[in-house]
Amino acid sequence: MIKIQNLCKSFTNSTDTFHALKNINLSVQKNEVVVIYGESGSGKSTLLSIIAAIMKPSSGAVLVDEENIVSFSDIHASNYRKNRVGFITQSFHLMDELTLHDNLLAPLVIQNLTKIQIEESIENALTLANILHKKEQRVKTFSGGERQRSIIARAIVNNPDIIICDEPTANLDLANSLKFIEMLKRLKEEGKSIIISSHDELFKSQNFIDRILHIKDGSLG
């Protein structure tokens, strides 16, 4: 489903060139869960950003169902994110002044959906993320765990087939991390492909994880 070929990413400033990713090759199948371990600055987030078509690589290709998303214009990349990708960030970024329901509207209002379809999608996502009871509350009053579940609900509300999680448990306590892992299991059961970057040891003991990879200094081991 996702095929990454010879992917490189460098950042250049006036004096130095930093090679964040060095010749990455990776395949992720449909319904597969892959965890990428690595320390801070190893290139995990950069790799996920490229897979989500948020960032362009310096060279290489990312084929999603045989289409190279690297060559996408902003319009195509946005459509790809809108229809196929759910992105879960480590910082729980939500529009704080809005209710949870209204936060989930953001990915849906750009789709050609009726009001009823929108409400159904929100209801389903909130049920799956186990936060339906907070639907009409403002997210600024939420705890860390609730915010993370809200982020998950927003990431899956448009029913994407690729879920990308960038250090999802970095700001959660153990209890909330376990709840999050339960949710990932459910998403796998729904047939999603999931790519997680983390340095949380908790993932290593989970049997629903199909593959664990390690990234160091921009190279995948």
Partner: protein
């Protein structure tokens, strides 16, 4: 589209404090700008309307840098000039009204001269001339009336001519308010009375006015006048118009310059605010981009959001300015525009509302405002969303 509008409405209501602050500030700035433009337009309109009936030429005897009374005999000379239709003498001058320390303009008219009356038609319209001339009467401007009333000169006023005699004139009527800018400090009376009060000798007039039927010949006639009388100042109607135009354009220009400084400061504050990527708005843009919004969609959405706020401010500002200028008579601004020297301050402004004024206000304020918001937003939009919210 409806879903987007619904989302837009939610954002507007949720962030109402921020939007309200921008709305209030913008409304004030637009109201100030609009007031200046309305005031300037209204004054020009009033002045032009009044000047429309003025003679084509005003001729004054001018020696050694001083204006002297003009010999009445010159009128016949000018009538001989080809292209001149009518020539008549005017008697006018300033009267110092000591109780209020104000100067009034006394204008003497020959009420049986149809050309003169035509020129002053706007001021003396509807006056029964026979009735007016039955005794020593005068028609006064609104400010003159105000100052007369203040010192209980309700029915008449006693002038002291230079020959130390006494001239008692009755107040016959007050001018119409539409012509206030030119007439508020004016007193109109019969020529003979004016001559006595101002001390203008028989055989002389204050100046001479000429009418020419063919406006194409104005320059030729001016040349002939110059050649025939070198000791004479020739003022064309267009010169007077230009004088007023320059005066109010200058005052309006000074205001617009000051306003520009305020606007630039406002723009800088906005720019700075949006340049600070840590703001709520930058995060909002990043979240929308992560959710699959295209750059164009984000910009259109934010443009619409701000356009609603600024358009509301635009119409509110214009409404406030209209009310301030045309209903309240622009307190404070009026003093700056009209000054105290010749033109008194109880003037009321006649509404002048043109599409070009509205477009000008839109271009001066709304456009820079939207650009000041859109450019930084665009900068945020093209960044990687994860970088913006990190």
């Amino acid at each position: 589209m409806l879903n987007k509008l619904n989302f837009l409405l939610i954002l507007l209501v949720t962030q109402r404090k921020k939007h309200f602050a921008i709305f209030v500030l913008s409304t004030l700035l637009i109201a100030l700008l609009s007031s200046v433009i309305f005031l300037s337009s209204s004054i020009k309109k009033d002045v032009y309307t009044t000047l429309e009936h003025q003679a084509d030429f005003t001729l004054q005897r001018y020696i050694a840098g001083r204006v002297l009374n003009t010999p009445e005999a010159w009128i016949d000379e000018f009538m001989q000039l080809e292209g001149v239709e009518n020539a008549s003498g005017r008697i006018y001058g300033m009267h110092y009204y000591e109780p209020a320390e104000q100067y009034f303009m006394i204008v003497g008219l020959d009420f049986y001269d149809t050309q003169v009356i035509q020129g002053m038609k706007k001021l003396v319209n509807g006056i029964d001339i026979d009735e007016f001339l039955k005794r020593k009467n005068m028609i006064i401007g609104s400010d003159v009336k105000k100052f007369f009333d203040e010192y209980h000169y309700f029915d008449y006023y006693i002038f002291r001519p230079p020959d130390r005699s006494i001239e008692k004139l009755f107040i016959y009527d007050k001018f119409q308010t539409q012509s206030d800018i030119v007439s508020s400090d004016m007193i109109i009376m019969d020529m003979a009375n004016a001559r006595r009060i101002l001390g203008v000798q028989e055989g002389y007039v204050s100046d001479i006015v000429l009418e020419t039927p063919n406006k194409e010949e104005l320059e030729t006639i001016q040349l002939k006048l110059k050649v025939s009388h070198f000791d004479m100042r020739i003022i064309q109607k267009s010169d007077i118009k230009k004088y007023y135009e320059n005066l109010y354009n200058y005052k309006g220009g000074v205001f617009l310059a000051l306003y520009s400084i305020v606007l630039i400061t406002f723009g800088l504050i906005l720019f700075q605010r949006y340049s600070m990527i840590s703001s709520v708005d930058a995060k909002e843009v990043a979240i929308l981009r992560l959710s699959g919004w295209k750059i164009k969609e984000v910009l259109c959405f934010k443009l619409m959001e701000n356009f609603i706020v600024i358009l509301s401010a635009y119409f509110s500002g214009i409404f406030i300015a209209y009310f301030y200028v045309y209903f309240l008579d622009a307190p404070l601004l009026k003093s700056i525009f009209l000054g105290y020297s010749n033109l008194a301050n109880s003037t009321t402004f006649s509404p002048s509302f043109s599409l070009s004024d509205l477009v000008l206000i839109f271009l001066i304020f709304v456009l820079p405002f939207l650009l000041a918001i859109l450019i930084p937003l665009w900068k945020v939009s093209i960044q990687e969303p994860t970088e913006v919210i990190r």
